[in-house]
Amino acid sequence: MTVAAPAIERRTPTQEALCNGLLALLPGGAVLTDPEDLRPFECDALAVYRRLPLVVVLPETIAQVQAIMRLCHELQVPVVARGAGTGLSGGALPLRDGVLLSLAKFTRILHIDAPNALATVQPGVRNLAISEAAAAHGMYYAPDPSSQIACTIGGNVAENSGGVHCLKYGLTVHNILMLKVVTMEGELLSIGAETLDAPGYDLLALLTGSEGMLGIIVEVTVKLLARPQRAQVILAAFDDVVKAGEAVGAIIAAGIIPAGLEMMDKLAIQAAEDFVHAGYPRDAAAILLCELDGSNAEVSEYIVAVRHLLTHNGATEVRTAVDEAERQLFWKGRKSAFPAVGRISPDYYCMDGTIPRHRLPQVLRQISLWSGEYGLAVANVFHAGDGNLHPLILFDANRPGELARTEEFGRRILQLCVEVGGTITGEHGVGMEKIDQMCIQFQSGELAQFHALKAAFDPDGLLNPGKAVPTLHRCAEFGAMHVHHGQLSHPELERF
């Protein structure tokens, strides 16, 4: 017997109007409602949160996005935007009563303008594809998140993605010039400019990292940089993580800004080594990978200086990659650290706090103490140059209570990051995952200001509701903040 799927039977009149309206706006195949078709969109890379959306739309023109937004605005239906779904904080988690708007069909590189050092691309273009296209001009796009072969530039903007080269080359916010954005009302806005500064407020900065809460990004103009003549990596081993941390400070104090400066601890080293055989010293307590780039002469000059600094700061072994193949191999170990840990544990939970660099010994010591207390192993990988720490907590979700213990452990790590003057998220975003930790980092005044700012873009709260900024009520329940009803600084605002 063929009857309508149960999901369709449960639709309200508004949902019925929405689905019919979307079918009228978009070509066949661009509107998905069958639960089987919705399944691939139920989560992003934070798979512990899953939910089927009411409908998935796959527009391919800006006009279609505008029409979808107008319809959703008219019917007051929430919209969640999605790029490649590689996000690590649940930012693209769908809503049961909402539209999931996939930008997957926006995959064209519109133009590369080498004389002006910029490229204009659609949001669904993969991060690495931009650099590949710019290579013909000797140029590249600098931010390189570990997921760069899959993640899209639209998602990078929404999350303000970083990568291993941020210390020298900055985050997404430092490497884009202009966005085209469709508002919840369906209006198309140009934000920023092809020129270095744009008139008016710096909305480009505001949109970057806004996690789909302020608008739908439909076009991105990025800056391109000249590809350095040479890049070289030094690997240094230490018998103590504190010494490795001090070596990082010494390199920076010497006036050298490496292109990348990464640290891994013993468990991460061993997991990576077993996985990709990068040639890491398995018995080291910590390794540093220090990449230097620039002209030939400059790199040679810095290699000598950095090797000296590392040795002086207690490195037990210092190795310079002998050729490009070995350089790639050293990086492969680091870039594979997450899947490598995935091989040695049924599950792992990746944290993303940033701390002032000199607090590293204290934070690692505390994590190690808690690791013993909770009976959960932790592997640490660290963007040491910019203080961004990724502790990976190893656990087994099939053991009763272990996920809950892991989450509690993780919360304590993030709280510690805030206490030492850092932040709960360096580059993965708040999304669904860290919404409660926002109550630790911000007071009610800041949160109310965030909601007011959001309302300036999206007064009805229809863009990605429930993510990134917690309601004051939620924080009150979380226990980090005490709110008396009626004493909010913005009683007129909706709290979503």
């Binding site: 008139p199 407020y201 710096d202 505001l206 050298i256 002209s295 910019d386 203080g387 998220t425």
Partner: protein, 352 residues
């Protein structure tokens, strides 16, 4: 070196009560920018002092009234600098004014703007609330990037109390090359450098000469000079300093001065007047008697925008007018921070 935030908060609180517009005033060095200030002065320069600076962390936090000169002296002592080489435009320039105006010097295209260095801030909003955004770490994506929104907002969204900035080591070596050529050739040369791995940190075209400043390690500068060739200017620092501070005679011709932003490779613009090209051609200064409307039209045709900088006739719009939907969004954002419209009213745009 004192914390005046309580008094400042009280003044904002009182101004809200009496609906008195406030003119936030630091060192008064950039008073000439934008529309004329209105309202009661909110003095910001006494709220002063460097709060935290550890060179190894590459971060400096200071109260907004701290003199820029004091900050630069502290950085210099540790061999570091503000990446964006901000112009002072006066001996009393403060950190807060510099950030609020969002101005950057000759290094901007190569080392980033004021907004790129901004990591966090403490501010008073238009409800007299003391709020903190961002932080003192390089990477931070918790919450909207309000700190960067404050850069270049001309104090219309709030009173800056503290700023944390990313700082960097001063380059070990620097060398300036000079070459005589026409403007068109200069634009081509400066644009070509963008796709070459050369350690350029400033490039400008002035009185028939293109100036290229190389900066980096000793070896990097030496090798780049060998590759590029050309004549070297001994002791070029005073030249770059007078470009940064607009002390070259070009800036004092007596004619109205306009700031023109275009894509760097844009061909010479056929607008009558004298031109000086900074930022490798991306920021162009025009001294001209041509009507503002004609200048805007000519620049817009090249995809750029114009700010009336100094000496212009009273203009309805000093900054480039915004398209209506974008301006509406600006007004809503302004209200979200400053619901009673008391901060630097009309300084940036009328009705904002």
């Amino acid at each position: 070196m004192s914390d005046m935030s309580t008094a400042m908060q009280q003044q904002v609180h009182d101004a809200i009560g009496s609906r008195t517009p406030l003119h936030i005033c630091g060192g008064n060095s950039k008073n000439f920018l934008g529309h004329a200030p209105q309202g009661e002065v909110l003095p910001a320069s006494m709220h002063s002092g460097i709060i935290e600076y550890d060179p190894r962390e590459l971060v400096l936090t200071a109260r907004a009234g701290t003199p820029l000169a004091e900050i630069e002296a502290a950085l210099s002592k540790a061999g570091q600098m503000l990446t964006f080489e901000p112009p002072h435009f006066g001996a009393h320039a403060t950190l807060g004014g510099t950030i609020a105006c969002g101005l950057s010097g000759p290094r901007r295209p190569y080392a980033g703007a004021a907004r790129d260095a901004m990591l966090g801030c403490k501010l008073l909003n238009g409800r007299a609330e003391l709020l903190r955004f961002g932080g003192q770490v390089m990477k931070n994506v918790a919450g909207y990037d309000v700190s960067r929104l404050m850069v270049g907002a001309y104090g219309t969204l709030g009173v800056l109390l503290e700023c944390s900035l990313k700082v960097l080591p001063r380059p070990a070596a620097s060398l300036t090359l000079i070459h005589e050529c026409a403007q068109e050739e200069a634009i081509g040369r400066m644009s070509q450098l963008l796709s070459q791995p050369v350690p350029v940190d400033a490039a400008c075209y002035h009185t028939g000469h293109v100036y290229i400043r190389l900066a980096g390690s000793e070896q990097a500068v030496k090798q780049a000079h060998a590759n590029l060739g050309g004549a070297v200017i001994e002791n070029a620092a005073p030249f770059w300093q007078s470009l940064r501070e607009q002390q070259l005679p070009f800036f004092h011709s007596g004619k109205p001065l306009y700031r023109v932003l275009v894509k760097p490779a844009t061909a010479p613009l056929a607008i009558p007047g004298a031109w000086l090209l900074d930022w490798g051609g991306a920021q162009r200064w025009l001294a001209s008697d041509a009507p503002v409307a004609d200048i805007r039209k000519g620049v817009a045709a090249a995809g750029g925008h114009v700010t009336c900088w100094r000496g212009h006739a009273p203009a309805a719009e000093i900054f480039e007018p915004l398209p209506a939907p974008l301006f509406k969004l600006h007004q809503r954002l302004k209200l979200s921070f400053d619901p009673h419209g008391i901060f630097n009213r009309g300084r940036m745009y009328p009705h904002l």
